[in-house]
């Protein structure tokens, strides 16, 4: 498939004409946005300011892709575009159906490639309180030739982002050998030269869940061996542009793409061993205390119910050796609940293999992980309660190392 054909596949040529007519753009900021009519102008102004601050002699441009908003975001974005008499040129990508965030990200990358951008800044319109200087900090390593991919690292509380800290990041670290904090940071910067090699032909037709494209971008960077830099930002605050999905759906939309990407990059990850630290700009901030400690009991109850009722499903996914280690957990008091990292890593590895072997419908398989994940979160919270804040990073590290130790077993079973 030619590049031109691929672009037309995601958005009509005409929607890029305004920006393309201004000539090649050195730095493109691509904002993907859904249902943020009230906040759209603020977010875009921030992005605009970040671009202006780091433009220098470079030509810059802002592109916005609306992933089918229902609240007038598209109109707000167009009004913002038309209001910009001075400053970087602004454009709106009219996505072709099906419109969703995954395709919006791919369209922005394709458009940046078409504009021959040297650097691309991707920003999720849901991010709240993101500052222009932080976005500028993301772009700088790319503009300085220091990195091909820049990922954000956030300050977080103990039980914030438990899916990231307990599954997505440790598994990604073990697979691709880089100790990255965020696999879906909501913003990232990348070198324009890398886009072509990462956007494989036909990738537009992939079944991308809302978070799938973001996960793919991080994974593509890691799998390709791109030079990586993490930039320390503040807290990750998000104002979702719509009702939040239930936990099982979140797992389907995040763990599903992660497992799918294991298949896409199965020529790469089995040969990688160990993990290396990622270059970082800014000092890692200390883990903060939770404003409200999550209740453990409902999570343990969910785990127990899963162990009681979902066993016939789990038996299709996990071997008896794993299940035998789970059975005794049903007898433990919630305040003493333990699901240790090595066992959790084995559970995730079993699910990945079962997903790969299509032992049951993939949606069912991923949803069946929910009680186990809640059990792991409960165990993590119990452990964190008894751990001083300063030593919480050690807990994260323990999870990461458990996934690394599990990898050999995973590779042996992955055919």
């Amino acid at each position: 498939m030619s590049d031109a054909a691929a672009v037309v596949d995601l958005f009509p040529d005409a929607s890029l004409a305004g920006l393309a007519a201004a000539g090649p753009v050195d730095v493109v900021a691509g904002v993907h946005i859904v249902n943020q009519a009230r906040r759209a102008a603020d977010v875009l102004d921030t992005v605009d300011a970040a671009l202006e601050a780091c433009s220098g002699s470079r030509r810059t441009g802002v592109l916005v892709a609306d992933a089918e908003s229902q609240d007038g975001t598209a109109e707000a974005v167009r009004a913002w575009r038309d209001s910009g008499a001075s400053g970087p040129p602004r454009g709106c990508l009219d996505l072709l159906a099906p419109k969703h965030r995954g395709r919006a990200i791919l369209a922005l990358l394709r458009a940046a490639q078409r504009l021959e951008a040297q650097a691309v800044l991707l920003v999720d319109g849901d991010l709240t309180g993101v500052r222009a200087d932080r976005l500028q900090a993301l772009l700088e390593p790319v503009l300085g030739g220091e990195a091909e991919y820049v990922s954000p690292a956030y300050t977080r509380t103990v039980s914030e982002g438990t899916l990231t800290t307990n599954l997505l990041a440790p598994l990604t670290r073990a697979l691709y050998g880089a100790r990255i904090q965020q696999v879906m940071g909501g913003c990232a910067a990348l070198a324009g030269a890398t886009i072509g090699s990462w956007l494989e032909p036909g990738i537009e037709t992939g079944d991308w869940h809302p978070h799938g494209a973001e996960l793919w971008l991080t994974t593509a960077a890691l799998a390709s061996g791109a030079r990586l830099v993490e930039v320390q930002l503040d807290r990750k605050l998000v104002t979702p542009g719509g009702p939040q999905p239930d936990l099982a759906t979140i797992l389907v939309r995040t763990v599903g793409p992660l497992f799918a990407l294991m298949e896409r990059y199965q020529a790469v990850w089995p040969d990688r061993t160990g993990s290396a630290a990622v270059a970082r700009r800014g000092d890692p901030s200390a883990v903060q205390a939770d404003a409200r400690t999550p209740a453990i009991e409902p999570m343990v109850r969910a785990f127990d119910l899963g162990l009681k009722d979902l066993l016939p499903v789990w038996e299709q996914i996990m071997p008896e050796s794993t299940l035998a280690r789970l059975y005794p957990l049903a007898l433990v008091d919630p305040d003493e609940f333990r699901l240790p990292p090595p066992l959790w890593a084995r559970v995730v590895s079993d699910f990945a293999v079962a997903y790969h072997e299509r032992r049951l419908p993939r949606d069912h398989l991923l949803r069946a992980l929910t009680p186990l994940y809640l059990g792991r979160v409960a165990a993590f919270v119990v452990e964190a309660r008894a751990t001083p804040l300063a030593r919480i990073p050690e807990s994260f590290d323990k999870i990461d190392r458990a996934f690394e130790a599990e990898k050999e077993h995973l590779v042996a079973r992955w055919r």
């Binding site: 438990t162 936990l247 999550p294 969910a302 499903v313 299709q316 299509r358 009680p371």
Partner: protein
């Protein structure tokens, strides 16, 4: 006396010989038909497996989860081989029916055309049952996972009920296709479904309205009391 004994002996030999003369060609025809049927069936099985292999049916079935579902019921053979076996036995069955017809046994006269006419319906009925069974397992599993993730009890019972409901529905469609007691099945199915729905409606509306109200209130209360999932998982 001696003549009579010899006559009887010769007569019975002649009788057997004449019967054999009539039966032997038929027996030979039967053996030929069975052998030919077996050869054609074996060839057709091999051809079917090759065609299905070229179309990557095994790979597709694995991707669609059909192989795994079959595996759970103890069927370990690849789907292409299963279809090949079905083709083999169908052709062999036709060959054997022709062989029975060739015997000209009074009881079996006209049996072959009847069975052959019945075969398409049988195939459709088998197909309906297979699809119904797959659908029943899929829906029951989806319901079970949904109920457990909603942290409600009684998931296995409800999932089991749904599985049997779908299988019963598929069975009734299959039996209707076969033309077996069509009216009776429609009637029974209508009564069972209609009766169950009516019984549940009456139970909730009259007999168990307090219980139903309490159950609903308790369920809604539990939902309200449940800790809001204010954790940021990502």
């Amino acid at each position: 006396m001696q003549d009579s004994w010899a006559d009887i002996l010769v007569k019975s030999f002649r009788e057997v010989a004449s019967r054999l003369a009539v039966f032997a060609p038929r027996l030979l025809a039967v053996l030929t038909l069975v052998l030919a049927g077996w050869l054609v069936a074996a060839g057709a099985r091999r051809l079917a497996i090759r065609i299905l292999g070229a179309a990557d049916i095994d790979g597709r079935c694995a991707r669609w989860g059909i192989t795994a579902t079959l595996g759970r019921t103890g069927i370990r053979r690849p789907p292409s081989e299963l279809v090949g076996q079905l083709v083999f036995w169908l052709i062999l069955l036709v060959g054997m029916l022709m062989a029975i017809e060739a015997l000209e046994v009074p009881a079996a006269v006209g049996l072959a055309p009847v069975i052959i006419r019945f075969l398409p319906n049988l195939l459709v009925a088998i197909f309906v049952m297979v699809i119904g069974w797959l659908l029943a397992n899929f829906l029951a599993q989806a319901l079970l996972i949904f109920i457990v993730n909603a942290q409600l009890r009684g998931g296995p019972a409800l999932a089991g009920a749904l599985r049997w409901l779908v299988i019963l529905f598929a069975a009734s469609v299959a039996l209707t296709q076969l033309g077996i007691a069509r009216e009776m099945i429609l009637l029974v199915f209508g009564i069972v479904f209609g009766g169950t729905t009516l019984a549940l409606a009456l139970a909730f509306g009259f007999g168990g309205r307090h219980l139903a109200r309490n159950a609903l209130e308790s369920w809604l209360q539990k939902r309200e009391d449940r800790e809001p999932d204010d954790m940021s998982h990502l």
